[in-house]
Amino acid sequence: MSWTISENSFWGPLDPAADAGYPEDRPKRKGFFTDTSICIGCKACEVACKEWNDVPSDHFDMTATSYDNSHSLNSNQWRHVAFIEQPKRLVTEGGGQDTGLRGTVDLGMPTVPPTGAAEQLANGADDRPDFRWLMSSDVCKHCTHAACLDVCPTGSLFRTEFGTVVVQDDICNGCGYCVPACPYGVIERRKGPDGAKNVGIAQKCTLCYDRLDAGKTPACAQACPTQSIQYGDVEELRERANKRVEQLHDAGIMDARLYGNDPTDGVGGTGAFFLLLDEPEVYGFPPDPVVTTKDLPSMYKHAVAAAGTLLAGAAVAFLGGRR
């Protein structure tokens, strides 16, 4: 890591690997574009991630609220598929052509319409159920301005040459500062299970740093059967995502929007960004996250002022009276 504080070091668009001091011949920034509109909730990404990264499997149980049985992103869950069931039609309210993502190709998605409705759907009948699934595979965002990395006091979290954010297991001392710093609630100190490796150490997605090093695709993207998870150069993925949104809009799916793709946003854009079909918080994302260190210069100023106040106050207490 470098100590040069460039103009946008705290906030604003920049190439994170360049900012971290990697030379010109570094690889292009790598990331994920997760297109949730074609996610079928198969959890292949979750499994592939656990297998490849040797992430312990624990606390799997049904949440009793949805098909989600892996709860959240956490130290033992580096990909997490959210299942949202909404009493809402997939596409249009006011009639029109069924341009639904489900209508044409049966991807084997679980459906729970009343008996007979599936056939009606297939027949193009208009009384489609007032119900849709949203599924989304969440992951560490590999932020341009990563709060976790900024606040890490040991240098365990570092910026790789691919522009990703990775924990060095052998350096982290488990101070836990990265955990509350992440605006997306991704990174966590591993609590168990007993006997698992790296207990007491912060854990999260590495964007399969080892695979990237070997020129391979991260396990989750490799395993995703619908290419909902697309891996590649962030720049190229952003263009791809823009086209995809436009395509969906043309098809009448005006709910489609990108999340995290804008390099001027509160975290300087994320290396892993998403196409969503509803507001971010529906998926468990913060609606408009801002990296906490954006305010750090101001925090330090306030702290210095407070320190000065304490010293001055004490001086007055000693000089201000005689008893």
Binding site: G94, V105, Q247, D255, E279, H302, A315
Partner: protein, 403 residues
Amino acid sequence: MTTGREVGPEGDPSEDAHTHDQVNATTDPLAGGGDNAVGREGLQGVRSQTNATVGTRGGRRGSGEGGSGRRRGGRRGGGRGDRSMVPEAEFTSYYGRPIVKPSPWEADIPAYLFAGGLAAGSSILAAGADLTGRPTMRRSGRLVSIGALGFSMVALVHDLGTPSRFYNMLRVAKPTSPMSMGTWILSAYGAFAGAATAAEAARMLPPRWRTRGPLRRPLALLPYVDRPAGVLAAVVAPAVASYTAVLLSDTATPSWHSAYRELPFVFVGSAAAASSGMAMITAPTSEAGPARRLAVAGAAFELVMEHRMEQTMGITAEPLHQGQAGRLMRAAKALTVAGAAGSLLAGRSRALSVLSGAALMAGSACTRFGVFEAGQASAKDPKYTVVPQRERLEREGPVRHPG
């Protein structure tokens, strides 16, 4: 958040070939032509359903609940029995689950916040006492500071996930990490406070050791170390007292981050009150005049700044009034007020000094634990992440870098 409206006009879907034609061919029915006509009214209908509805009851309740209606994102935080300052905000979430994660920190950290403040204030009082000829207050200040610092160190190491690696804190100095800065501030402070206390301890040795025996030479250096070390410790100490506010605020924990402007002032006030309280207990009343004055000033300052802090925090001030944090903050206020009043009246009364001092220390500890717990609670409820961001979006639009 980018809505589709910002997407530029370029890029006909049919051009979206190259590497992704496979994706589109197999999974995307939209790529394959067909009638894409959708009535404008239809779109409007969809848009209106997806608009954010902070403060609008009912508009979006479906999405956070799943189909089951078992949990409502918008209902969490209500019905806790504590008073609610603002009308319940309506918001959406993923089954009411937290968005940000609470820190994994336990009681060690608020205990350290208290002890660090106590150490810092005591060093300042000790230096003042030294410079104004108050030997007992100087001595007790120095001893308290090193004791509190030692406690702090143990607490900080104990709270690590892998305590045996605490020394990794020393491998970097990172301005973007308040914890790293704090490590170095504490190291510098510890060196000075340690030297001052060593000098103090040496004074307590039998006088004849200064003129005879193996310690004669090192003890002769004493005058050169004593006061300078004490003064240097007092110069660094305020940073020890105030950086801990940055430590908490430089997170995504809603009730800590939103307090960042006032929290350092609350914490230095709290440190002044606690250390003055300790001095009122440990120093004779004849020497403790400055401590009594600083106690009143520190307590008043803390209360005023805490009040201001809550005014600027918006909805994230709520956790300071609820549950465990609420009880702690109420206790803090009562104890601090009582301690300050007692300090005003204490004068030469030994008993009243001790009582007031104890109340001030307890008040300071409650403030630290209360602020800590409020932050933890705010991280566990998605309301405090979603609602402030939604409110900001409605007020100012999305946060975007101008350049």
